[in-house]
């Protein structure tokens, strides 16, 4: 019977059917960070349970480490060092490969799992982090679990999951100039809602996907979780294989050849039937920006804030009203006339080298508007070094951006670093939830180009306004 790529990978990793659609799956790679990983290792230790295959587990420090130059274990978040030390000691005791704070391989988990070649097509990967789905951009079946899921994966090399339904999102056409994978995924969530993908694993497919560089594919899959999907995936192709070639943990020699031969077979059968099919013509998309507190609260940068009366159900209307109040906006407000206080370029969504290049293209020869706090936090230490090697750091600094060390930074607020008094932030991150970037902080999500353009104009704006 013809099968989807998702089903093929699922079946290949199916250890046992536990009944009623619940399956025990073999996990090929486990990734830990100091927030959820430290708790998981500590709990296992207390219960006297050993890590079964430490060579398949990897760990880093990204979530609560400071991103200021000269950082160490001490964090602005009181008590953050406890998490960092627990992660480091736990990884050492369990003999897990660990990328420490000042290791050149350090970075945001999902960025370095790809960069180091740890994530590979066809592999199952879990991490105690919801954005693990990012790695679907390489053709891995990757998803987030809670810390007890991580405990189980470390202890048994399995987790149990309900088999998801399958959705194929076919994207054809060409993205217009200044429109990116971020705009595509935001508009998808806007159209079908933040729970539009609930219960599904999604395969992105079509000519517009084949045309996307691997880093942009990771941006797209990164936000599958914001669509409530189990995960997102893109079948590996020549670009994926070239991306992985020579990466530190990628196979070498004869094993590389065997891996590549296998990766080339990883696709859905032509006659495979998906539980749901969605089609998008990407040529009609414009730069997107969120106005509210859910990623589904999104419109084109040139659009207006909608009216809660347009909602179909009372809980959605209440969420919109709550969002308007929190965001201090009114129906009919034009997005591109909203003044901002800060701009943030960072996160596992949009802080890879190609993202920094897009932002730098906009910032070149321009300055951040007066009074705007602007930050660029590279997604990994090697992204930072590569950006510096091509002089991007100078462009950011000359424009008035802070140039930080790698980490999650102000993608989320943990209680230390903050935007100062700034209330309204335009951000390349993935979550505009209330309080996500700080108490009372109002987040507008957008692409790196849109964030850079907004920073220079001091209000929400797409880069198109600058080129006019």
């Amino acid at each position: 019977m013809p099968r989807t790529l998702i089903d093929k990978l699922w079946d290949e990793h199916l250890v046992a059917d536990l009944g009623d659609g619940i399956n025990l799956l073999h996990i090929d790679r486990v990734f830990l960070h100091e927030r959820s990983g430290a708790v998981a290792l500590r709990t296992l230790k207390t219960s006297g349970i050993a890590v079964r295959r430490p060579q398949l587990a990897f760990a880093t420090i990204d979530h609560i480490v400071d991103t200021d130059p000269g950082r160490g274990d001490a964090t602005k978040f009181k008590g953050g060092d406890k998490f960092i030390r627990a992660m480091r000691d736990g990884a050492r005791e369990a003999a897990i490969t660990f990328f420490d704070i000042n290791d050149p391989r350090q970075g945001i988990t999902h960025v370095i799992a790809a960069e180091q070649g740890i994530a590979q097509p066809g592999a199952t990967i879990v991490c105690g982090d919801s954005h693990t789905c990012t790695l679907g951009g390489l053709g891995a079946l990757a998803w987030g679990v809670g810390s007890s899921g991580i405990e189980q994966a470390l202890a048994t090399q399995t987790v149990e999951e309900c088999r998801p339904r399958t959705m194929r999102i076919r994207c054809d056409g060409r993205l217009a100039e200044g429109v990116f994978a971020k705009d595509l995924v935001l508009s998808l969530i806007g159209k079908y809602g933040a729970s539009g993908g609930a219960g599904y694993a999604i395969e992105f497919f079509g000519s517009a996907i084949s045309a996307l560089p691997v880093e942009a594919r990771m941006t797209l899959c990164n936000m599958a979780i914001e669509f409530a999907a189990f995960t997102g995936i893109i079948a590996p192709d020549v670009m994926t294989i070239e991306y992985l070639r020579g990466r530190p943990h990628a196979p070498t020699g004869e094993l590389w050849d065997r891996a590549v031969a296998h990766w080339k077979t990883l696709r859905s059968d032509d006659a495979a039937v998906f539980d749901r099919d969605v089609q998008i013509d990407v040529s009609t998309l414009s730069p997107q920006v969120t106005w509210g507190t859910s990623p589904q609260h999104v419109v084109g940068v040139e659009g207006v804030v909608p009216d809660p009366r347009s909602a179909t159900e009372p809980p959605q209307a209440r969420a919109m009203e709550g969002a308007l109040q929190y965001m201090d906006l009114r129906p009919g407000d034009r997005l591109n006339s909203i003044p901002i206080d800060a701009a943030f370029i960072g996160s596992c969504t949009n802080a890879r080298l190609s993202d920094l290049r897009e932002a730098a293209r906009v910032l070149q020869g321009r300055k951040v508007a007066a009074g705007i706090k602007a930050l660029c936090v590279p997604g990994s230490t090697s992204v930072k070094q590569a950006a510096e090697a091509e002089g991007l750091d100078r462009i950011f600094k000359d424009a008035g951006f802070e140039w930080r060390e790698s980490g999650c930074s102000l993608c989320f607020y943990v209680g230390g670093d903050s935007f100062g008094g700034a209330r309204r932030v335009i951000s390349t991150t993935n979550r505009n939830f209330e309080g996500r970037q700080g108490p009372g902080v109002r987040t507008h999500l957008a692409s790196p180009a849109t964030v850079a353009a907004s920073a220079t104009l001091g209000r929400i704006a797409s880069a198109r306004e600058l080129s006019r």
Partner: protein, 216 residues
């Protein structure tokens, strides 16, 4: 944290009928200050429950549902669709449980949050949005007097007017909640099978598990 088995939960249900309530709202990241699982109930929904201020002395926001008298000890929560979306933080389930909740009823749940509930003694019940809205209205009208029943054996919610609403839960997950079982223990019982599976997979996909030729 030991987990109480669930069979029947009877009581008031606290209505929090907004769509897309995320785990950052359930437990803000800055509220999770220890490398552990206990004591998070005091910090549940902190941004909505409390005014700003030092953790030990911050004042409550009186209008928030869990600060209102009938609901302060609620064990059942009603919410809009996609409850628990966002971050995978298991602290969201720990905080709800520690506060006293044993059941959350919503039209849909974030998948990772839902899995975390099952692992931590919290029953996620999916009912149609119109039914959840209805139960919320009964609560609002009942002045803290009316109760609902959630029966996990029968997979049935009986609302305040006595109408039964069946829900589904895979029997294995039901058993885990009824008996307070731990899924790590369950999986560890299969370790022999898992190892055999691993070896067969490693045979077919040696590049994923084998030693690299350069020894790295």
């Amino acid at each position: 944290m030991s987990i109480e088995p669930i069979t029947i939960v009877r009581g008031l249900a606290a209505p929090l009928m907004r769509a897309n309530i995320d785990t950052d709202a359930i437990i803000p990241s800055r509220e999770m200050t220890t490398v552990g699982k206990a004591g998070l109930g005091r910090r549940l929904f902190a941004n909505w429950r409390f005014k700003d201020g030092p953790v030990e002395s911050r004042a409550e926001r009186s209008e928030f549902v869990l600060n209102r008298v009938p609901y302060r000890n609620a064990r059942i929560l009603l919410a809009g669709e996609n409850f628990g979306c966002g971050s995978s933080r298991e602290g969201a389930a720990w905080a709800l449980y520690d506060f006293g909740f044993r059941v959350v009823i919503a039209p849909s749940f974030g998948a990772i949050f839902r899995a975390n509930c099952i692992r931590n003694g919290l029953l996620p019940v999916v009912l149609d949005v119109a039914i959840v809205e209805d139960i919320a209205r009964q609560m609002d009208a009942g002045n803290g007097e009316c109760t609902i029943d959630v029966d996990l054996q029968k997979c049935l919610v009986t609302d305040a007017s006595g109408i039964g609403h069946p829900f589904t839960l895979p029997p294995m997950q039901r058993e885990m909640l009824i008996e307070g079982l731990d899924s790590i223990e369950l999986a560890m019982r299969r370790v022999g099978d898992i190892d055999a599976f691993h070896d067969a997979l490693a045979e077919r996909r040696p590049w994923l598990f084998g030693v690299r030729e350069d020894g790295a």
